[in-house]
């Protein structure tokens, strides 16, 4: 799966949780889920579950904690898919 595809799929997943829509206009690796998109920290748990469903992978708690930005998420997905 190309990086571009992963990122576009991620964008779709996080969309419903985003409290700051402007953050989505510039959706890139450095975009921070909490800082730029203002996703409620409780909802990050739901984002992770949606990512698991979308990519058919399992993300353990340690990897989840390291998932601050879109780039982090992409890396974790790539690792799990490899």
């Amino acid at each position: 799966m190309s990086e571009k595809e992963i990122i576009s799929r991620l964008k779709k997943i996080v969309q419903p949780y985003v409290q700051r829509p402007e953050g989505l206009e510039n959706f890139r690796e450095s975009t921070s889920f909490i800082g730029d998109l203002e996703i409620n920290s409780a909802n990050l748990v739901d984002v992770v579950l949606d990512v698991e469903d979308e990519f058919d992978i399992e993300i353990d708690n340690d990897s989840m904690e390291g998932m601050q930005t879109v780039g982090d998420a992409k890396k974790i997905i790539q690792q799990k898919l490899a």
């Binding site: 419903p16 949780y17 409780a42 909802n43 748990v45 739901d46 579950l49 708690n61």
Partner: protein, 424 residues
């Protein structure tokens, strides 16, 4: 000085109508909301009927954001939010996104049990070892205060935001608690009400207790028969009712419309003594509750024009009428008009008190008394105590000034509230 408290907004999600305007029509028409549910038949319930508000997908999208709707599986929250938001808007208040909460507005919104279907989902995941798959909302949907928390966030309330629970008394108790808060000067506005979840996991326990009618599965609309000789048990229901209580001065200053005044009331318990038990009321406590409610409102016994009873369609109905007769010292023709909403809605459990308060207030503001349905065969013991003319079977177009609304609940708990027509 105590502040006067009035009702400036109402909302309702009842088995026989959702929304205040349709509810007004429904209770005037004597419309039943009791239906047959194939799911209950499949699960071998004896009583396969019940009352659920009919909520469309489209309606949910109007009341909840897409984010709130994700994974939302709590019928009580659906009904409570719909009724609560409606009451707020009906009072002419705005739902705004601003930084500061409204420090003068609070919420007391009760429930019996919340998010049962969500809890079931969670239990299955946990038992399969998949606890982390619960997501972020199972706590918020299953905690009792989930409903007041949801409403508190949507409306931005900064005064007390809490949840009470006292079985069938819940909604009426919430109203009186909100009344106290305003009359003592601690809040300007309180959104009060209650909601009840529905479905087999809520209703199963009542079916097991064999207190629900088993012989009306093919004639659901006939099943809930308060004050009737053939009453065979209460029909389980669900929904929510909400009332916006407001300090009279504040309501006047805003130019809000006023449905009625809350004069006050009383809450007590029979302590499960003296004939009272977990499931039965102590008669002395019920009578004291009625008498004390009148005293608290400085009302004489002959000033009550109407009673909206608890009257669930069980053997308890006769006892309840006896208690009213004794407490008021009024019988026969001298008894006030009395009705029970449960013929149309079933017993909406923790939502019953608030839905019935909404119905009671509509009667005062719109000058009518809704009909009792399914009691063409009035219980002979009841007719010995009060005349059948006092139990209207047709809608009465009449001006009533003062209505007493009572709720009596499991755990031997009682609440009586007195509403008065507001004349500016």
């Amino acid at each position: 000085m105590k502040r006067r408290v009035v009702i400036t907004g109402m909302g309702v999600a009842s088995p026989n109508a959702v929304g205040l305007a349709d509810f007004r029509n429904a209770i005037r028409e004597g419309r039943s909301g009791i239906r047959f549910f194939p799911e209950l038949e499949k699960l071998k319930f004896k009583c396969q009927i019940g009352g659920k508000p009919e909520i469309s997908e489209k309606m949910l999208q109007e009341y909840f954001s897409p984010l709130q709707l994700r994974g939302l599986n709590s019928s009580g929250i659906f009904y409570g939010v719909i009724a609560g938001k409606d009451a707020w808007k009906d009072a002419g208040l705005l739902i705004e996104e601003k930084e500061k909460p409204d420090w003068n507005s609070g919420i007391i919104f009760g429930t019996g049990i919340l998010g049962v279907d969500k809890f079931r989902e969670a239990i299955h995941l946990i038992d399969e070892g998949k606890t982390r798959r619960l997501g972020s909302t199972s706590v918020l949907q299953t905690m009792a205060s989930g409903i007041s928390a949801y409403l508190g966030g949507i409306l931005g309330c900064g005064n007390q935001v809490t949840t009470n629970s006292s079985a069938c008394t819940t909604g009426t108790e919430a109203l009186l608690m909100g009344f106290d808060r305003i009359s003592s000067g601690k809040a300007e506005r309180m959104l009060v009400g209650s909601c009840a979840d529905d479905g087999p996991y809520v209703w199963g326990g009542f079916d097991a207790m064999r207190i629900l009618p088993a012989n009306y599965n093919s004639t659901p609309e006939k099943a809930s028969r308060p004050m009737s000789e053939s009453a065979a048990g209460f029909v389980p229901g669900s929904g929510a009712g909400a009332l916006l209580l407001e300090d009279l001065d504040s309501a006047k200053k805003r130019g809000a419309k006023i449905y009625a005044e809350v004069l006050g009331g009383e809450i007590n318990s029979g302590g499960q003594r003296g004939g009272g038990s977990m499931t039965a009321a102590n008669d002395e406590a019920v009578q004291r509750c009625i008498v004390k409610a009148l005293e608290n409102c400085s009302l004489k016994k002959d000033e009550i024009d109407g009673i909206n009873g608890h009257l669930t369609a069980t053997k308890g109905d006769v006892t309840e009428i006896k208690n009213w007769v004794n407490a008021l010292g009024r019988k026969g023709k001298d008894f006030p008009l009395i009705n029970s909403l449960k013929g149309m809605t079933g017993h909406c459990l923790s939502a019953s008190g608030s839905i019935e308060c909404v119905a009671s207030v509509l009667q005062l503001s719109d000058n009518f008394i809704f009909p009792n349905i399914n009691c063409e065969d009035l219980h002979p013991e009841i007719v010995k105590l009060i005349t059948s003319e006092n139990i209207p079977r047709e809608t009465l177009q009449t001006e009533v000034k003062t209505i007493a609304k009572a709720s009596f609940g499991f755990g031997d708990v009682n609440a009586v509230v007195i509403f008065k027509k507001y004349i500016a």
